[in-house]
């Protein structure tokens, strides 16, 4: 289950000492966190935000009301838009993100947040599948992606994506 692996990677990133126990619920295998002090928490984003608060890293959710709203918006985007998209949708998503990231280092501006982590998880299979010329076409996304996958402690369960051209044969001698 991807969601559980993402949560486990997040735990490692946050340096949580003992890993939490998760189960899943329903056809969509929504992650569930059994909580000792209350009812279980359901949903990837919900649990992720909860873990961040527990680790006492509130800045990962944004340092102002505006930033917090922006972070939540992109978190929601990753769980609603990225999980069920057609090839056409993928093109649109990449195009939009590319424009959005044109003048930004991170999704919420100049600060690394939880939104970067989950957008990275969500985009990973899509970026893996891009042709090199497409990676060049969506250069801001590629740049951001490469940055995040090298951000200390983020990558964990995913394979690194090579942004280099990597060919099996060379062009002719023309």
């Amino acid at each position: 289950n991807m969601a559980l692996r993402e949560l486990s990677s997040l735990e490692k990133y946050l340096g949580l000492k003992k890993p939490n126990k998760y189960s899943t619920q329903g056809d969509k295998k929504v992650p569930v966190l059994q909580n000792n002090n209350g009812p279980p928490l359901v949903g990837l984003v919900t649990i992720a935000c909860h873990l961040v608060k527990e680790a006492n890293r509130p800045e990962l959710l944004g340092d102002s009301a505006e930033s917090r709203a922006v972070v939540q918006q992109w978190l929601e985007y990753t769980v609603t838009k990225l999980n069920s998209c057609t090839k056409e949708d993928i093109k649109t998503i990449l195009k939009d993100l590319n424009l959005y990231l044109q003048d930004k280092v991170y999704l919420a501006g100049n600060q690394f947040t939880l939104a970067d982590t989950f957008m990275y998880f969500g985009l990973h299979p899509i970026i893996m599948d891009l042709a090199f010329q497409e990676k060049e076409q969506f250069v801001n996304v590629t740049r951001w992606f490469d940055h995040i996958q090298h951000y200390p402690g983020v990558r964990h369960h995913l394979s690194p994506v090579v942004v280099l051209r990597n060919r099996i044969y060379t062009s002719r001698h023309h």
Partner: protein
């Protein structure tokens, strides 16, 4: 802070509600549904909030959360949980429900769509036993969920079942004046109808069955599985059953090709070329899939379609690289070409590339035709003269190509910079700029000499070229990359291109002012297509000077596109002799190898002769390469993936189905196809299979080779399912109708197997023939099934006797694949190490591999030849069955051939086999 909303948009209800409930002040602007407020989104997204900092929020839930936070109410974990549920579970269902209710008038089905989420909400409210979602006070969660559900829950026409707790909560929230007032603003008292114009602009929602599909990754068959079940109408079924009952073509296409194949009046005349592989190397997997194999699949398919088709290719032999290779190996260039031409031929033969003719460029025909085109260009004024400064080694008596000069980099002073590029600073260098240049062969200092050359005047031909391109690219099947690369060349502007070189190994320039010179390979090589055809038939002009009757398909990898779309067409247009120009330019992307980094300039990868040496059958190699054909985007070769595709697709899906179908005939019906009584279910299957066949044909006609393959695999998937559901192995034990049912299912299945053998023919020719041999299928089924939009007929009638059935595929075991990975990984490691040090000479292991000469391998093979020889002698002594002996002898000959290659000798010509295609 500015909020943008539109009327009739239920998402806007959420944010207006949040404003009303919290009393937060904000400018609200009503805009059109189509208004693009958020600058970075390509689809209009409303509501949108412009924040004081200039940033935009476009998610209604994030906007509501922000409004509440500004008002001092930060959202709790529980609140987050409801908002996430609303976005991921409730919204998709609501979108579908509203689409049905507002646009399709199917209000009655809404309750079913919403049942799941409403049950969940009802239960939660019931358990919580509080007036609001979270405790005693209204929160952002209540506002968002209420607003989301408001359009459907306020509509009395929609019967939504008994969700008592939902109803109580909904009414409780609705009682707040602020919510009512927001609802009035958005829906204007018109209920669902108020949303019509908004809904019409939304993309149709995915239905709940296929909503959870993952983004589609590279493998075509996996996407197929996700398409969900096709709906088959009554008419489809009857049409399929009618087709099924039609017989095979009485007049089968003649199986034997009649050479020479020439264009015929009234036929579709198709000329197929594959980019000419350069002779001084063993071809790579990338070369094979990009050019010869793709063209082979298309040619085989075209012949099945009944087109009059000629497929030519050959080795490209002239140029500096050959000259230098000859010097290295102490041979003449001609000897080098002879040696490698044989290597190429034998590899393509192993891959079953069915050329009508495989020639070479070093022929008299080449000289004749190239010089004719040259004189025509010259006489029509399309050649211009210019001088070029070049380095010349007086000691070697020759001009030095860039790669044969070394010296000090003018930029970074690295002492071993190459003539084209510096390995240290990576800058591109013009060879004459190098400081202290040296000839790489003799280490003498070259001098700068100016030399007179001829240039093809591309700018003068540009208008004519563009005119032709407009027509060809709009009427033919040009791949997207081919069009794009061509466009970018034209956009950058065309410049004159030098067509002559100071070399010996080439087609001589016939002009008296330029003797001593030869044609530059890019000018010369594509003319090879013509001269190779001329070697095949002296009526070659019927193909090449006949644009009215002939369609020309060029297959290549994308790096070759400009030479085929711009440069060569300019040569032919300028020559003005009614040449046949390319109608369909089919270019592949790149095939990558595993996840290892390669040194581009050193050309490391998997080579054709290695594939022969893996014990994996040629058909399986073809299948996998075609399965990952870089069609539309780059793809990757991986050993593990190859094993997986072999085991899952070939063994468990395709092979399993065909083997089961045929085994039922053998085991339950004494080898005779049973009588078929078609029922609804069978007709439905026939229609599904017919549809897949139709897709296959449509895609193949457009040269979407990889996409078409998925439809073959879909058919066997349908077949397996059909067998699984009908359980003929149980029904056969029954009596009467039960037994008859087993017969029908078996008869339909074995006929599908027969169809599959035909569809597979272009991809896996040997397996395809084996299936038909096992089924004793009539040859005419091959010509019947692919006619028109596809004709799936009952080719094996009741009573038809089939042959001996054996499994078609073998499992690739993990340890076997690991061993291969390791074996080929060793060589890559050498190359990788080499790549980290800018060594001037390629390491020995790599040179050996590139040549095809490999002493290690030779040693292994010598041993293997000896052992196999003993085995054959032993079998003969025991008077073993003839077929067994023949098979072992074939293995022995193959080993000897590989040994010869590994030792760098040209292998003995393979003995003529009994049947020749």
């Amino acid at each position: 802070m500015k909020l943008f909303v539109s009327e009739g948009n239920p998402q806007c209800l959420k944010v207006l509600c949040a404003l009303e409930v919290t009393g937060v002040q904000c400018d609200v602007h009503y805009v059109n549904h189509e208004e693009r407020v958020v600058p970075f989104l390509s689809r209009p997204a409303l509501p949108a909030l412009l924040l004081p900092s200039g940033r935009h929020l476009f998610s209604p839930n994030a906007i509501c959360r922000y409004i509440f936070e500004v008002n001092g109410q930060e959202s709790s974990d529980l609140c987050n949980q409801w908002l996430e549920w609303e976005a991921t579970h409730l919204q998709p269902a609501l979108a579908e429900a509203l689409h049905m209710a507002v646009l399709q008038g199917k209000g009655s089905e809404v309750s079913q769509v919403l049942q799941g989420p409403l049950n969940f909400l009802d239960q939660s409210l019931n358990n919580g036993n509080t007036p609001y979602l979270i405790g005693e006070a209204v929160s952002v969660a209540d506002v968002v969920l209420w607003a989301a559900l408001c359009p459907v829950l306020s509509d009395s026409s929609l019967v939504l079942g008994k969700h008592k707790s939902v109803k109580a909560w909904f009414d409780h929230v609705a009682a707040m004046h602020s919510c009512q007032s927001a609802a009035q603003k958005v829906l204007q008292g018109k209920g669902l109808q108020g949303m019509k114009s908004y809904m019409q602009r939304q993309p149709a929602p995915q239905s709940s069955q296929c909503r959870d599909t993952q983004p589609c990754n590279s493998s075509p068959a996996e996407c197929g599985e996700e398409e969900g079940e096709r709906v088959v109408s009554e008419e489809d079924m009857n049409a399929a059953a009618l087709k099924w009952s039609k017989g095979l073509n009485a007049d089968p296409l003649s199986k034997e090709k009649q050479h020479p194949i020439l264009p015929q009046e009234g036929k579709r005349n198709i000329l197929v070329t594959s980019a000419l592989p350069y002779v001084n190397n063993v071809p790579h997997l990338g070369n094979i899939i990009g050019c010869v194999l793709s063209a082979d699949v298309f040619s085989r398919y075209g012949r099945l379609r009944g087109w009059n088709l000629l497929y030519v290719c050959g080795t490209d032999e002239y140029g500096t690289a050959t000259e230098n290779k000859a010097r290295e190996e102490g041979m003449t260039p001609q000897q080098i070409c002879d040696k490698y031409h044989v290597i190429h031929s034998s590899i393509y033969k192993w891959f079953q590339i069915d050329f009508d003719f495989f020639g070479r460029t070093t022929t008299e025909k080449q000289t004749e035709i190239a010089q004719d085109i040259f004189w025509r260009l010259h006489n029509h004024g399309f050649l211009v003269e210019d001088t070029v400064e070049q380095l010349r080694c007086e000691n070697c008596q020759r001009f030095l190509a860039d790669r044969f000069v070394e010296g000090t980099c003018p930029h970074c002073s690295y002492p071993e910079a190459r003539g084209d590029q510096c390995d240290k600073c990576g800058r591109l260098i013009n060879a004459v700029e190098l400081r202290e240049p040296q000839c790489k062969v003799c280490r003498q200092i070259p001098v700068i000499r100016s030399s007179k050359h001829l240039f093809l005047d591309l700018p003068k031909l540009e208008t004519q070229l563009k005119q032709w391109l407009d027509t060809s690219t709009s009427t033919g099947h040009w791949t997207a990359n081919a069009k794009q690369i061509t466009r970018s060349w034209l956009r950058d502007g065309l410049k004159p291109r030098c067509i002559t070189r100071d070399l010996q190994w080439g087609t001589p320039v016939p002009h008296p002012d330029f003797k001593e010179k030869v044609f530059y390979v890019w000018f010369d090589a594509p003319i090879g297509y013509l001269s190779i055809t001329a070697k095949y038939t002296d009526k070659w002009e019927k193909w090449w000077k006949n644009p009215q009757q002939v369609e020309l398909y060029n297959f290549m990898a994308k790096d070759n596109v400009p030479f085929h779309s711009v440069v060569f067409p300019c040569s032919l247009l300028g020559a003005q002799d009614n040449y046949t120009l390319v109608s369909h330019l089919v270019a592949t992307e790149y095939l990558n190898y595993e996840d290892t980094k390669f040194s581009k300039s050193r050309g490391v990868g998997v080579f054709g002769d290695m594939a022969m040496d893996t014990d994996i059958p040629s058909d399986v190699w073809r299948f996998y390469l075609l399965y990952v054909r870089p069609e539309g985007q780059d793809s990757a070769f991986s050993w593990a993936d190859m094993a997986m595709k072999n085991n899952s697709e070939l063994l468990n899906n395709l092979g399993n189905f065909i083997n089961r179908a045929a085994m039922f005939v053998t085991k339950f019906f004494e080898g005779c196809v049973p009588a078929v009584e078609l029922q609804q279910e069978d007709k439905k299957l026939l229609a599904l299979v017919g549809w897949e066949l139709q897709q296959y044909i449509q895609l193949m006609d457009k040269v979407k080779i990889r996409d078409a393959l998925k439809h073959i695999l879909n058919i066997s998937r349908h077949g397996n399912q059909y067998i699984q559901v009908n359980e003929p192995w149980k029904k056969i034990k029954g009596v009467g109708t039960e037994r008859q049912r087993a017969g029908t299912v078996t008869g339909v299945s074995v006929n599908i197997a027969c169809l599959l053998s035909v569809m597979l023919l272009p991809y896996m020719p040997t397996v395809s023939q084996t299936i038909r041999d096992q089924l004793h299928a009539p040859q005419s089924c091959v010509s019947t099934m692919l006619q028109g939009t596809g004709t799936f007929v009952c080719a094996l009638k009741a009573g038809h006797r089939i042959g001996t059935v054996t499994p078609l595929f073998q499992k690739l075991e993990t340890d076997q694949i690991e061993a291969l990975k390791k074996r080929f990984g060793g060589q890559q490691k050498t190359a990788q190490n080499a790549a980290t040090v800018p060594a001037p000479a390629a390491p020995a292991a790599e040179v050996a591999m590139v040549n095809g000469v490999d002493p290690e391998k030779a040693k292994r093979l010598t041993q293997a030849v000896a052992e196999q020889g003993d085995k054959v002698r032993a079998l003969k002594a025991q008077k073993a069955e003839k077929a067994v002996v023949t098979a072992e002898v074939a293995k022995l000959l193959d080993l000897k051939k590989q040994l010869a290659l590994a030792e760098g000798k040209s292998p003995e010509p393979a003995p003529q086999k009994g049947k020749k295609k």
